[in-house]
């Protein structure tokens, strides 16, 4: 719906601007705000005093370009038609509605949102009655004035948006304006409501609600695969006594993960006195994070990049630490732990901000395009365990990926934001095992329904005032059936926990959820 032009207003002389000095003129009935309470002045019923109309119109010419969003981008729109509301039944080209919602910038901005108020008094009962008052947000001075009878009086005021007190510190929340309270300006008219027998308007008011004009755009690209390799080689040489072996060990760790190349050095010792060396160093690469506020970059987004890097780091460290949870591995069988990981790899494009509809409404406009490999893992490991009479080498692989793809555009108040994308995936481990050569032998099986590998899930959802991107990754551990055999004694099976379960992401409550 769009409002037509307002010839009755535009044809008038330049609007009278109210000033503080006008307040004294509105000494009667100035407490009558919205709702049209009877005027306070006890006036003789033979003196007419009545309001014909109150109209509030947004002066669109003072606003800068308008946009809609599409797949996370702002798209410029043609100039919007004029928008306004009316209080009574005279200026029927405007919708009769108590509230006009607009977007507004901060005070003093170059493109303020101005509201043209037009009030017409049928008659005034005296020099101080039939008045109009504009009540601004707290902290600003109200403006009031007596309305001359028989003419249409107009004035303008700036509907400004004051600094939000939003103190959220979440990943995107610093810039989030969804669900905040608008700033309100109220324009109230009062009269005695006396038209000498005809239906009369005692008074009433209209409200302007101002929402932030800020428009935000976010693009994040998180690079794909990284690899961590950790190995501890085993070499064995035959000797004359087949019961003796010579073992040498070496270890290495190298890789690149989530766009981070790394080197680090720390050492630890195993129970058998061998030292394993672990080297890592981190250096961000290829991660892009672009944040635009009203079309301009420049906001300090370093905090967000830092958080993102910490997130990648956290998941990678958690997976790397899985090797410490392998159950009682023995060095004589060698050790290998390698993984390639993508965590939140891919692209996010988001655009959001308040937008004026063609009628009196403002709505939260949100658009996004998500193409994320939430979790992709390719893990291979081998380690040894000792069972009575046998040294068994376990080999396992876990591979799979969880992808979240979604795009949405909410460009109208008639289709409220409703996002509900959920994906989940179990990535089971494949495990096998063999014993060292000898009379006995062993095998390892994973049975259906027994927990192994990774369990992952992700969701992109919305509620009444926020959207949430949530991910969860758990290492379910590895429980397997270990079978040992000897040629005379048959096969014995036992259930063994080869690796303990452990959370990968989130590791702390609330960590796995991003609100925007």
């Amino acid at each position: 719906m769009s409002g037509p032009d307002v010839p009755t207003i535009s044809a008038l002389p330049a609007a009278d601007q109210f000033s503080k000095s006008d307040e004294t003129a509105a000494s009667c009935g100035s407490d009558n705000r919205l709702g049209g309470l009877p005027p306070a002045c006890p006036l003789a019923s033979t003196v007419p005093c009545d309001i014909d109309e109150l109209v509030l119109v947004e002066i669109a010419a003072t606003r800068v370009k308008k946009y809609h969003v599409h797949h996370g981008e702002f798209i410029e729109e043609p100039p919007a038609p004029k928008r306004g509301i009316r209080l009574f039944d005279v200026e029927k080209q405007w919708p009769k509605h108590p509230t006009l919602q607009v977007v507004g910038d901060r005070p003093g901005a170059s493109s303020p949102t101005n509201i043209l108020a037009s009030v017409s008094a049928f008659a005034t009962c005296g020099p101080t009655h039939a008045s109009v008052v504009m009540f601004p947000p707290p902290g600003q001075s109200e403006i009031s004035k007596t309305v001359p009878a028989g003419v249409q009086d107009v004035f303008t005021f700036e509907a400004a948006r004051y600094q939000s007190s939003n103190s959220a510190v979440g990943f995107f929340e610093r810039f989030i304006t969804w669900g905040i309270d608008p700033v309100s300006y109220m324009v109230s008219v009062t009269s005695c409501g006396n038209r000498l027998g005809a239906p009369a308007n005692g008074g009433g008011g209209l409200t302007v609600e101002v929402y932030p004009a800020d428009q935000y755009q976010l693009k994040v690209s998180i690079p794909a695969k990284g690899k961590v390799a950790y190995s501890r080689a085993r070499t064995i040489t035959s000797s004359d006594d087949p019961g003796e072996v010579n073992i040498t060990d070496s270890s290495k760790l190298e890789g690149n993960i989530g766009g981070l190349s790394f080197e680090r050095s720390d050492e630890f010792s195993t129970d058998d006195g061998l030292t394993l060396k672990d080297e890592m160093k981190y250096e961000p690469q290829e991660l892009t994070f672009e944040f635009n506020h009203n079309g301009q970059s420049g906001d300090d987004v370093s905090v967000n990049i830092t958080k993102l890097l910490k997130m990648l780091e956290s998941a990678k460290e958690a997976i790397k630490a899985l090797k410490d949870f392998l159950h009682d591995w023995v060095p004589q069988a060698g050790f290998k732990f390698e993984f390639s990981l993508s965590f939140f790899a891919g692209d996010i494009a988001l655009a959001w901000g308040y937008k004026e509809h063609t009628d009196w409404r403002v709505f939260y406009c949100l658009s996004g395009k998500f193409g994320l490999k939430i979790f992709s893992i390719d893990l291979s490991l081998s380690f040894g365990i000792q069972v009575p009479g046998l040294l068994v080498r376990i080999e396992g692989t876990v591979g799979g990926e969880l992808v979240l793809e979604s795009q949405f555009d909410f460009n109208t108040p008639d289709s409220p934001i409703a996002i509900n994308e959920k994906v989940e995936l179990a990535i089971p481990a494949k495990v096998k095992g063999r014993a060292q050569a000898g009379i006995g032998w062993a095998s390892v099986a994973v049975e259906v329904g027994v927990r192994t590998g990774f369990v992952t899930g992700a969701s992109l959802t919305s509620d009444s005032n926020t959207c949430k991107l949530k991910a969860e990754v758990k290492w379910a551990g590895i429980i397997a059936y270990l079978s040992t055999y000897d040629p005379n004694g048959g096969q014995k099976d036992e259930e063994v926990e080869l690796a303990k379960e452990r959370p990968i992401w989130p590791q702390e409550e609330g960590q796995g959820e991003f609100k925007f």
Partner: protein
């Protein structure tokens, strides 16, 4: 004890396969258990030895080698391999001193049908290994009466296990102890003592019970050139085994292949 072991390693990926040496089946690999690596001295004979992988066998042991009415269509790239290695005691395959004697592989293409089962075979002589086992001289199995006698033998062993009495089993498995002694240089008496103690210990474990022998679900099959009866059921499980524990685990299995030796039925492998 030998210094070198002949280890047959078999693997599957996205398929099933049964492993046989000289017509004696001993392991079904599945997608949940994809690797088997074991010594095979007890199956070897002088002269050529035949190694077989039966890929995508029939649904039961008795139909394992039967041509299937429907082709096998791998859902993903599939493979089955077997390789024979000579390995020093204590070695793993990549260790020095390990010699690969042969390797055979089958590869299936995803979505491409193949006639099932697929037989992957290799024959070779292995000097220094193999015996003319005493069970090879016995009569072949050829009648339903033989099947019933084998069931009774297994039931006799099972009842003994249930009582914590290993003696019926030990008496019926004397030939196997001799076979293993020849194959691996084990002392028969000490092996019997070890197994006796082992069975007694198992029988005292909480909840330990032997599975009943159900002739209806049994799927006795003749193998080893007609000389052996493989005592398994239709789900490829040994008839002689403990019941499933609440977690699905079968604590103990006693695979048994029975032959006629000296006119009596004996567990020989």
């Amino acid at each position: 004890m030998p210094k070198e072991f002949l280890i047959l390693e078999t693997t599957v990926d996205n398929c099933t396969a049964e492993v046989q040496v000289n017509g004696v089946p001993f392991r079904l690999l599945t997608e949940l258990s994809t690797l088997d690596s074991r010594p095979i001295h007890q199956y070897l004979t002088p002269g050529p030895n035949k190694f077989t992988l039966v890929v995508h066998p029939g649904p039961t042991p008795g139909s394992a080698m039967t041509e299937q009415p429907e082709p096998f269509v791998p859902k993903a790239p599939a493979s089955a391999t077997m390789r024979l290695m000579s390995m020093p005691q204590g070695a793993f395959p990549e260790d020095p001193g390990v010699r690969e004697l042969f390797k055979q592989a089958w590869n299936g293409t995803a979505g491409k049908p193949v006639k099932a089962p697929v037989l992957v075979e290799h024959s070779m002589e292995i000097p220094g290994y193999g015996h003319r086992w005493e069970w090879l001289e016995g009569a072949s199995f050829d009648s339903a009466a033989s099947f019933q006698a084998v069931i009774e033998l297994i039931r006799e062993c099972r009842d003994g296990f249930s009582r914590g009495d290993p003696e019926p089993f030990l008496a019926r498995a004397e030939v196997r102890f001799r076979v293993m002694s020849l194959a691996y240089g084990l002392d028969v008496n000490s092996e019997m003592a070890r197994v006796r103690a082992d069975i007694k210990a198992l029988s005292t474990e909480p909840g330990f019970q032997m599975e009943t022998i159900d002739a209806q679900s049994a799927d006795l099959r003749v193998c080893g050139g007609g000389k052996l009866m493989d005592c398994v059921d239709r789900s490829w499980e040994p008839l002689l085994r403990s019941t499933k524990k609440p977690n699905g685990l079968i604590r103990a299995r006693y695979p048994a292949k029975v032959a006629r030796v000296g006119g009596t039925l004996q567990i020989v492998l």
